[in-house]
Each structure stands twice: as C-alpha cells, then as structure tokens.
C-alpha cells in the first residue's frame, strides 16, 4: 500500500462552496471531534448531576490534588500554544522549526502524563482507587479517558514528527493542522474538567 495514495488529497469538483475548497482532513477531524464532545459531554453531565444528587461530594473532593492539576493546566495550555506555533512555522515554510515545536508539544504532553501518574500514584497509595465510591469512579474515568486521549495525541504527533523528517514530508504538513485540532480539543476538555473536578 503506497503512502502516496493515502495522503494525496482527493478532490473531485467545485460543488460545495467553501467546504469543497477545505482540506478534507479538516472537515473529517471536526466531525470526529463532534462525536468526542458527546462522549465527554455525557461524562461531565452525569458527573454533575450525580454530584448534585449526592450533596456535593465535598469530603471526597478534598483529597484531589489541585496543585498538580493546576500545573498540568498550564502545561496543556502551553502545549496548545506550541502546536499553533508549529503550524505557523509550517505555513512559513520553516519545516525544521515546525518539527521543533511539534516535539515540544509532545514533551509537554509527556510532562502532563507524568504528573498525572504521580497524582494517581499518590491517591492510590492513600487508598483512593476507582472502587472507593461514586466520586472516585467518575474522577478516574474522566481523567483517565482524558489521559488516554492525551496519549493518543502524543503517539500521533510522534509519528507525524518522524514523518516530517523523512523524504515526502510536504504531503504530511497539512496534518499538523488536523492533529492540532485534535490536540486543542483535548485541551478544551481539560479546561472544563479542571474546575469541575478540582476547584469548585
């Protein structure tokens, strides 16, 4: 299966106005993100409703580590910045610079996951596991699923970074934008998870 077939943008005509002129990957990624909003939206909704029903879960929530989470928030927001800077560099034809920012994004993502494991480790050591009750069930599922999405993004970005360093990289450059969209989405999910689980 040749690589050329897959990344050659398929086009067939002008019907569709702006949509026909949009890179296919952008449209496809937005559809995918729409479905992902439903997954996290459901978890956020059910968590919030259950929390109201349970009276706030204040005792349980006192044991989450808001400091690590705040640090992670900074990390993730910065990684969104580096993705945008990578895209900007790609537009300006500065591929090496684009790759560097991509790598930075990956590293920041790894820092996020590293801090997250630290956080989980501490909590589990104190006896707070997914089996510790409804709050912890939601906490671990929401942050865990989010973490899996971060991991997926890291893997995809690593593969892109590798591909951009090889011959034929021009065809892969548009993917910086598409993976960027995914990465920003993961950031936006965290923007909501952080206050919901750690702050309010």
């Amino acid at each position: 299966m040749s690589a050329a077939a897959a990344s050659e943008p398929l086009r067939s005509g002008v019907e569709g106005g702006e949509f026909a002129r949009m890179p296919l990957g952008r449209a496809g990624m937005w559809w995918f993100l729409a479905s992902e909003v439903m997954v996290f939206g459901t978890l956020i909704a059910t968590y919030s409703l259950n929390r109201v029903a349970a009276g706030g879960w204040d005792a349980e929530r006192a044991h989450v580590n808001a400091r690590i989470a705040a640090f992670n928030t900074f990390v993730l927001l910065t990684s969104s910045l580096t993705v945008v800077l990578s895209l900007q560099a790609a537009h300006e034809g500065l591929r090496a610079r684009a790759r560097r920012f991509l790598l930075l994004t990956v590293l920041l993502g790894c820092v996020f996951l590293g801090m997250k494991s630290l956080e989980y480790g501490t909590e589990i050591a104190h006896g707070y596991t997914p089996a510790s009750g409804p709050f912890w069930s939601y906490y671990y599922l929401m942050t865990g699923l989010h973490g899996l999405h971060v991991l997926g993004g890291i893997v995809a970005n690593v593969l892109l970074w590798i591909g951009l360093g090889r011959p034929g990289a021009e065809r892969l450059e548009p993917r910086i934008e598409f993976l960027g969209l995914y990465w920003h989405f993961v950031d936006v999910v965290w923007i909501f998870l952080f206050p919901l689980l750690y702050l309010s």
């Binding site: 106005g17 702006e18 949509f19 949009m22 890179p23 937005w30 559809w31 993100l33 729409a34 479905s35 909003v37 439903m38 939206g41 459901t42 956020i44 909704a45 059910t46 919030s48 409703l49 259950n50 109201v52 029903a53 706030g56 705040a70 928030t73 900074f74 927001l77 910065t78 969104s80 910045l81 993705v83 945008v84 800077l85 895209l87 900007q88 537009h91 934008e177 960027g180 969209l181 920003h184 989405f185 950031d187 936006v188 923007i191 909501f192 952080f194 206050p195 702050l199 309010s200």
Partner: protein
C-alpha cells in the same frame, strides 16, 4: 490557508490571556464567603471563555464557514439537552 498572525491577536497573546484566566479561577477560591454555587458558575463561565479563545483563535473556528460552527456546537447543545432531561431522574434520586 489563513495565517493566524495576520489578523487579530498572536498565539502568544492568546496564551497569556489563557494563563490569566487560569489564575483568575484559582484566585476565586480565596473568596471564602462566596457560595459554592456562585463559585461553580463563575468557574464554568471562565472555562467557557477559555474554551472560546482556544476554539476561535487556535482552532481558527472564526475563519471557517458557518456550517462548521453548527458541527462544533450541535453536540454541545445535545449534551445540555440530555443533562436537562436527566435532572428529574439523576439529580433527585
């Protein structure tokens, strides 16, 4: 394709605003006399502003055709509808 640096704030500017908003959210917690509900609402509002910044300026939503807004926001609306309908059953068990 559009260059985000051309029109509007630079990515770094947006990043600074995002960090400011994160700090603002953390600062809110020091206002202990505020009720739980008020803090939650304010935090969600701040989160919404942050999300809007990322969506508009990092994901370039403002440069896209209107239909893309529909694709992006319909699931949000749907999730809200789901949450509202579930209130009688889940929030008041």
């Amino acid at each position: 394709m559009q260059d985000p640096a051309h029109s509007g704030p630079t990515p770094v500017t947006i990043w600074v605003w995002l960090l400011v908003l994160v700090v603002a959210g953390l600062v809110l917690l020091f206002f202990e006399e505020m009720s739980h509900t008020t803090i939650t609402i304010l935090l969600m509002a701040i989160a919404a502003v942050k999300a809007t910044l990322v969506l508009r300026h990092y994901m370039h939503l403002k440069a896209q055709p209107a239909m893309l807004y529909v694709i992006a926001f319909t699931p949000v609306l749907l999730a809200v509808v789901m949450a509202l309908i579930l209130i009688p059953d889940v929030a008041y068990r």
